[in-house]
Amino acid sequence: MIKKVLIANRGEIALRVHRACKEMGIATVAIHSEADRDAMAVRLADESVCIGPAPSAQSYLKKSQIIAAAEITGADAIHPGYGFLSENAKFAEMVEAHGLIFIGPTAEHIRTMGDKIAAKQAMIANGVPVVPGSDGGITSIDQAKKVARDIGYPVLIKAAAGGGGRGMKVAEDEDALETAIKTAKTESKAAFGDDAVYLEKYLGKPRHIEVQIIADTHGNVCHLWERDCSLQRRHQKVLEEAPSPALTDEQRNEIGDIVAKAVQKMGYRGAGTMEFLCENGQFYFIEMNTRLQVEHPVTEMITGIDLVREQIRVADGKKLSFSQDEVLLVGHAIECRINAEHAETFVPSPGTITDFHAPGGPDVRLDSAVYSGYRIPPHYDSLIAKLIVHGRSRKECVMRLRRALDEMVVGGVDTTLDLHRKLVEAEDVVDGNYDIHWLERYLGLK
């Protein structure tokens, strides 16, 4: 029975975990670096331990210090949050070796999913769709044509040694294939000294869609529908929503089932997310995150399920508190990640928050660890608040999000609030009509 949880993280997620613990009657230990003495989680937690100086490598990534902090406080479980040590198999192992409960999957699952090739193989083995292609290199034009015909055009020729887009060519149809392969080989040779190329299905306008799952140690697995996180800038998610405006209920049920079954076969424990690219209703596995995601609140708002509470229950050997049939999908939710960055240049803006006012009223949730007078330290990421809004329909949700963004005040530092205020007025966003390239195009064209 978990009685005291050490929260091995900082910022809003540390507060999120603290909240779930308090609501379960579990005591909390907040660890922190010297730069985070005034953090909200530190203020609110039952106990706190300074574990090192500001740099993450000497504090939030310092496994031994975190475990020592659990020892001196008598914590019986550790929640890693996201980032930092949350997907560090070695840390999970150490935690368990010290007789503590790791609130997350087994080290083995973390390790497998951390290896892209092993993860892809595990997915194929468990019936999860991946990006189809030539399993090895292209040996002849005829073999390439056959593979391309099987997977369907357009196809992408990629340098085996490649990276950064060099040696990458798209062939729209069979007529273009031979030229594309030759060009790719030539470029690859020039760039990497190796002309080996392989072939993969080309996705021109994919969406980023991910499926939330949670599994207990009694063989129960539920999926909690998908999130659409296509609005990204430099691979950083900016705005997420659930359900995806691009899926039908049939597609949603189908991919949910596939993922839940695969996770059950794997014997996985805890919360996890399978990320996919999705184009024309087809899903292609990218990776599996073996931890809580930043954007988990949108799932919580459409299902009414507290994911952190379930994580803790499952880690404690309890059964999931619901079955798949009881996972509702009510209305629509959108999350805006508000960073302390300039809304146009994205230059980080650490400093003192002079004014802070949270939006209120119905169906508005703010997950934030900042407050009026708080100093954002320059050492960590710039996420200062997640604004999550729910509505009975997507339209209601967008309208509510607009008014909530209008109410919110963060003074003293630059924030991306204004970017979000623009985004929720943009026609494509209002229509749900975007892919993973949309935001960068929008920002480039502005």
């Binding site: 005034d38 039952d46 106990e47 574990i51 100086p53 001196i72 406080t73 407050y371």
Partner: protein, 162 residues
């Protein structure tokens, strides 16, 4: 009131403001027979729960710092509430302090002892390993701030050797 005095006061306020920002204070109040000056920086939250292991600094750091003697005390030291903490040897890790090599044994050092650089002053146990904390230079043990078996945070003052 002569203008010169006024200027002096404005200067003092400016000096205090600089100190406030440099030392990251919340409020400064200075009072003498002539004048009382209070300057204050914006608000901060009142914590609902106080940590148990070690106190965090007061939310509104109402530390009065005389203008002529700017303090360089870090919040950790302020938290320790100890005047000697500024030059104390601080804990390099999280763990449990042991002042002797084993229960019942004689402590490594006592107040008044002379020590050489490298002498073990105490042990910190973390994850079943005992890590010695040594004297950085020769001197006399002035104060032992940690007690035997006490859990310590990173940066917590342990012992003063001068």
């Amino acid at each position: 009131m002569p203008a010169s005095k006024k200027e002096t006061e404005a200067e003092l306020v400016r000096a205090l403001a600089t100190i406030m920002n440099d030392a990251d204070l919340g409020e400064i109040e200075v009072e003498n027979s002539d004048v009382r000056i209070r300057i204050n920086k914006t608000f901060s939250l009142q914590p609902q729960a106080m940590p148990v292991v070690a106190p965090t600094p007061a939310p509104i750091a109402a530390v009065a710092a005389p203008a002529s003697e700017p303090t360089s005390a870090s919040p950790a030291e302020a938290a320790a509430g100890n005047a000697a903490a500024a030059n104390a040897i601080k804990s390099p890790m999280v763990g449990t302090v042991y002042l002797a090599s084993e229960p019942g044994a004689k402590p490594f050092v006592q107040v008044g002892d002379k020590v050489n650089a490298g002498d073990t002053l105490l042990l910190i146990e973390a994850m079943k390993t005992f890590n010695p904390v040594s004297a950085p230079s020769a001197g006399t043990v002035k104060q032992i701030l940690a007690s035997d078996g006490q859990p310590v945070e990173f940066g917590e003052p342990l012992i003063v050797v001068e």
